[in-house]
Amino acid sequence: MTVLLLLCSAAFVAPFIWLVSTSLKPIEQTLTLPISFLPKAYYAELGGRRMEVTVDFQVTQPGAVVRFLTGDDAGKLGFLGAAQMASRPGTFTLVHAVAAGSWHVSQRFDREIGETGPTPLWDVVPRDQVDSHVKFRWANYPRALAALGGDAEADRHRVGFWTFLGNSLTVAVLGVLGTVISNAIVAYGFARLRWRGRDAFFALTLATMMIPFPALMVPLYGVFRTFGLIGTLLPLWLPTWFGSAFNIFLMRQFFRTIPEELSEAARIDGCSEWRIFWRIILPLSTPVLVVAALFHFIFAWNDFLGPLLYLTRKDTYTLAIALESYESQNGGVQWHYLMAASAVTILPVIVLFLLAQKTFIRGIATTGSKN
């Protein structure tokens, strides 16, 4: 049993480990086989100096490093296998011999793909002359975030990571406030008051939960467009201030567990319903409010379809959209940066979860079971 459990947890955790591992590698080590988890740094002596190198490939046949005498490459260094050396005698001078199993290494510059600079030194050296140790490239993180908003110099309208973060936070926080406040008020009306048509109205509320979002998407878009809200963040959080069926249901369940006597006593004392709500019920409802807040925060932070639909300008993008458009930005995908940026998007959610685990778990369990 334990073994099975361990295997399963390994399967679930492996992607996270892979995420972090890739995010800390230099680009050339993300594209190597066989796959490895630990980013390394390699050192060798080139041109008389010890420096950081990349390992380009392994030499399988013996050969030599030579300097060419003739042809287009005259004067330049090159590598020839034994068979090649035999087939073109006299066209080169020997610099040093190379045994099979040696590594071709070249000087490593810390620069991006496509950046130009001095030509790297290189050599073919025996394996034992190359030192390596584990080195995490923490610099990937700030670089990935800086690149999120677009090409640095070319784009004078670059938007920075902090803007995206700010947008995501704005939507999430305003959404949480709206969710907690509006749904508490509405749920109180359904849970603690008796009035004509209440149950029918509640049944209708529940029924709306089965409407799939695509069925609302087009006219909703039209509504926001009429008010000129497309391209702003409002469509993403404004509706939360007007209640949502799921949260009404959640909070109503909870409110009904509060003893009726408390309300009765207050009513006899002459308190208005609003006062009862505000002073008695609400303070007792912290657990469900926290659950609703957490759920909505996670939803808003992770939401993709909403921002895709409503946001048109780069300066209003949330992290979700910024991350997605980053992928399609450059020619080739830079996995280490993409993983680093993804990790940054995941981090707040994980932290939030770890801080509020019990509430989370309890909340999920209750919503799924009682129905």
């Binding site: 509006s182 509405v186 009035w195 998407m217 994980i350 799924g368």
Partner: protein, 304 residues
């Protein structure tokens, strides 16, 4: 109505007023407008013009519509049962294991709250045909046999299975729900079964399963409804694996063209919103049917 009743009604409406506005503006109006638009030729830049059942009849003849439906049913039809089995299995495992249970539960649950964009990027990388973790792992077993892992998201035959595998990673919230359900099975039932000489497996089949059946059924159907609306992962990953600027083509070879993706691209790229609304309504009908089924099935068991 008595004076008291009127007072109560005013209070009720006062408190639910926000929701009345919200319901009207963000749910009721769109639902009916969608229905109206589905009978119109409508692009948001031009007003809707009535055209009767033309959109629906076009849908019937639209090859892409049927393809998107097939793709969606394939995905939902596999990911939901598999996801339920996996989640239930993990819940059963956790139910037995006492030590460190909360740690395991944490590990299983965490992936389900990861932002969809981030997890799509991660799985896009994991499923990279050459350098990804999945093939790196599989090739350990396949290499000796002379085979190697497929191109996953770049291969029409393997793109949907890749998405299904990814969905299994996010079953954590179902694990939590099923675990709670399992823990609600009365001990007396187990004890009675043991006395009757039932083995562990028989206890599971005859005591555990029937008791948690309502929870499982309900969540499975909710999962089915969710799976039928799959959008974000497919949108993001088909762009990344086959990048040619058109994320909503469901590449490769339209194998990941799901219902909501086709709906979205019809509405917001081709600007054929009447047509998209017709598609949306068909989805609504399917979802309503499934919800009704869920309600019937679970109500039936509750009385048992």
């Amino acid at each position: 109505m008595t004076r008291n009743e009127r007072k109560q009604l005013r209070a009720g409406i006062g408190f639910t007023g926000l929701w009345i506005v919200g319901l009207a503006a963000f749910t009721a109006y769109p639902v009916f407008a969608s229905l109206y638009y589905s009978f119109c030729d409508y692009s948001i830049l031009k007003s809707p013009v009535w055209c009767g059942l033309e959109n629906y009849s076009q849908l019937v003849h639209d090859g892409l519509f049927w393809k998107s439906l097939r793709n969606t049913l394939f995905y939902a039809g596999l990911s939901v049962p598999l996801g339920t089995v996996v989640a239930l299995g993990l819940a059963v495992l956790l139910n037995c294991e006492m030590r460190g249970k909360s740690v395991y539960r944490l590990l299983f649950f965490m992936p389900s709250i990861v932002p969809i964009v981030a997890s799509s990027m991660l799985w896009l990388w994991i499923f990279n045909g050459q350098y990804g973790l999945m093939n790196g792992f599989l090739n350990l077993f396949l290499r000796p046999l002379g085979l190697h892992g497929p191109a996953w998201l770049a291969d029409p035959a393997w793109a949907k299975p890749a998405l299904i595998i990814m969905s299994l990673w996010s079953t954590g919230n179902a694990v939590v729900i099923y675990l709670a359900g399992l823990q609600n099975v009365p001990m007396e039932l187990y004890e009675a079964a043991e006395i009757d000489g039932a083995s562990a497996w028989q206890r599971f089949v005859h005591v555990t399963l029937p008791t948690i059946a309502p929870v499982v059924t309900f969540n499975a159907i909710m999962a089915l409804i969710g799976a039928m609306q799959i959008f974000a992962q497919a949108y993001i990953m088909s762009e990344g694996a086959n990048g040619n600027g058109n994320a909503s083509d469901g590449n490769p070879a339209r194998s990941t063209l799901f219902y909501t993706i086709y709906l979205f691209s019809t509405a917001f790229q081709d600007l054929r919103m009447g047509y998209a609304s017709a598609m949306a309504y068909i989805l609504f009908v399917i979802t309503a049917l499934l919800t009704w089924m869920a309600a019937r099935l679970t109500r039936g068991h509750d009385s048992g």
